[in-house]
């Protein structure tokens, strides 16, 4: 099968620091894949490079048949890829619904003239976007009636869900989730895992996530890529990766990366 997302020799440097070093990555459509690695390994930087927030210093990134390296983030989103952020970046002073509506920016066909003249088609587009946003909020499991709250007034776990709804509003083929369960308690994590599965099973969205929580990684990933010091050190199924000597070293070699402990002991 042709990969939906394909990175070839992607490199990203910050001054002297090579944050992403010559990384190859292939994501098949319809997969749930994970990117793991110790703190500071360069996982988030890979996401930022894929989504166009950083421009890769070298390498090619192909998404859905087109080369997206060097394109602007909004163009990449319009091409069918959307993301969440490690440290939640909601629009704090907008309502929950408005947040999701911003996510639907590329999907809402309204024009300047339409907005000024309040044309029929403008109103229809707005109404449709609104309905869709409400539907998405319900889909990610937010209680009804939360839409008019300011995003910043909601608890952390719900903010994570809003971020996912906002990303889904862009109608992506591929969704990138950066540590989506960080800071969640076990029940919330369980629910989140179920949600990620449903995204793939019901909506047909390919899911890539960065995770530290090995329970999550081992529980749902069909493919795992391990990054250390900006380089890919292993990839394969969860079972393969778990046995990989370099991976174990990467986690044990440094002071324990997180409370979950080394990969081998997970799940």
């Amino acid at each position: 099968m042709r990969p939906l997302l394909e990175l070839r020799n992607v490199t990203k440097c910050f001054g002297g620091l090579v944050a992403v070093n010559n990384v190859d990555l292939q994501i098949e459509p319809g997969r749930i894949a994970s990117v793991i690695g110790p703190n500071g390994a360069g996982k988030t930087t890979i996401f930022n490079t894929i989504t166009g927030i950083y421009r890769p210093d070298a390498g090619t990134i192909r998404f859905d048949g087109q080369n997206i390296a060097g394109k602007r983030p909004d163009q990449i989103t319009a091409a069918g890829m959307c993301r969440t952020f490690q440290n939640i970046r909601l629009f704090h002073n907008m309502t929950v619904l408005e947040n999701v509506l911003v996510g639907a920016h590329t999907q809402t066909p309204s024009t300047l003239w339409g907005a000024m003249l309040r044309t029929r088609s403008f109103q229809r587009a707005e109404e449709k976007a609104r309905q869709e946003a409400i539907r998405l909020l319900r889909y990610v499991g937010l209680p009804a009636g939360l839409g008019d709250q300011l995003a910043k007034n909601l608890p952390y776990g719900q903010q994570r869900r809003i971020e996912i709804a906002r990303a889904l509003a862009a109608n992506p083929k591929l969704i990138l989730l950066d540590e989506p369960t960080a800071g969640m308690n076990p029940q919330e994590t369980e629910a989140a895992i179920r949600l990620f599965r449903r995204l793939r099973d019901e909506l047909g969205v390919t899911v890539v996530l960065i995770e530290h929580d090995m329970k999550v990684v081992m529980g749902i990933s069909e493919y795992v890529t391990v990054i250390d010091y900006g380089q890919k050190i292993a990839e394969g199924t969860t079972a393969e990766v778990r046995k990989n000597q370099r991976v174990i070293e990467a986690y044990l070699g440094r002071s324990a990366p997180s409370e979950q402990g080394p990969v081998g002991e997970g799940s």
């Binding site: 910050f14 930022n48 927030i53 950083y54």
Partner: protein, 382 residues
Amino acid sequence: MRLHRPNLLLEVLRPLGQLLVFILGASAAISAITVLTAFLIRGTRTDMDLLQITLILLPQVLIDGIVLGFMYATIALGYTMVYGVLEFINFAHGEFFMFGAFAGVEFLVWMQGQGWLPDGQGWLAYLLLAGAVGVGMLISGSISVSTERIAYRPLRGAPRLVPLISAIGVSFLLQDVMRFYQSTANGAFYRTFPTFGGFSERITLFALPLDDREITIAIQMTSIVIIVVGSVMLVGLNYLVNATRLGRAIRSVAQDRNTAYLMGVDVNRIIAVTFLIGGALGGAAGVLWSFRFTRADPYMGFFPGLKAFTAAVLGGIGSIVGAMLGGMVLGLLESFAAAYLTIFTRGAFGAEYKDIFAFAILILILIFRPSGLLGGKTTQKA
């Protein structure tokens, strides 16, 4: 742990040497370009020998440019230091400069009233001038520190534009406060710098024969004084920041305020000290400015302030050496633009455009190299 003891002589001499080399290089480059341009377009004017005129004007234009450059550099340091520590454009810095100018002038006017201003040259004249610079620094420094305390500190941590708008307010307020004070106290809103000490005398350096004429290259005492005072300020600041404990604290706050705080640096004090130093330098520049242009008025801070800011950005904002070099570049460019634009364009574009010349440079720099000439590449944080 004990760091190596900085060598005072080295700390003083190195930046001075760098500055000298830079001034010579920049002057040579801009002169060469100008003369070359004059040579290439000499055919466009039949009424005068363009090349000759260009050469005759050149020495004076260079000296003016360097003098202007020293003043811009001294003002630019205030912007750059505050920006380095707070990432905040102190819009009111031009007004600190203006207050310094008035303070210096008032001091000398008062001395004049006492009959203590000498007419001729001599150590007393220099002492009084130094006194005026000192008074200017003192007043500007205090205004700067109080402004930070009253109008900026309460806004630390607010969205970026909030303190900037407050600074614009301070700038407007200070202009009219000074105007108000001058109008009520003196009946006019500007002040003239007293003439004394024979500073307007010119010293002939040498004479150059050119065709049938002879160009004498002379330099005014004023210019020499400004260059000397400016150099002292720049070198002093460089020493302070790079070779003292206080300087280290300032640099640490500029690097990372939170970490510095956790390391036990009194961040508020350091920010206040930064404003004090920046303001004082601005005040010194103000006195020099009114000394050079013989006048102080409440609105004098606007253009020099903006140009000095441009200089700071040009050299890479946050960088002290950058501010000095940026100031120098801007001073030279402006002086050349003012002198040659009219001649080269047959009067179509006059010296009036010299003020917007700086903005053109600012815009170009910010667009193509926002980190300035000396700054490294910066990447936006996601």
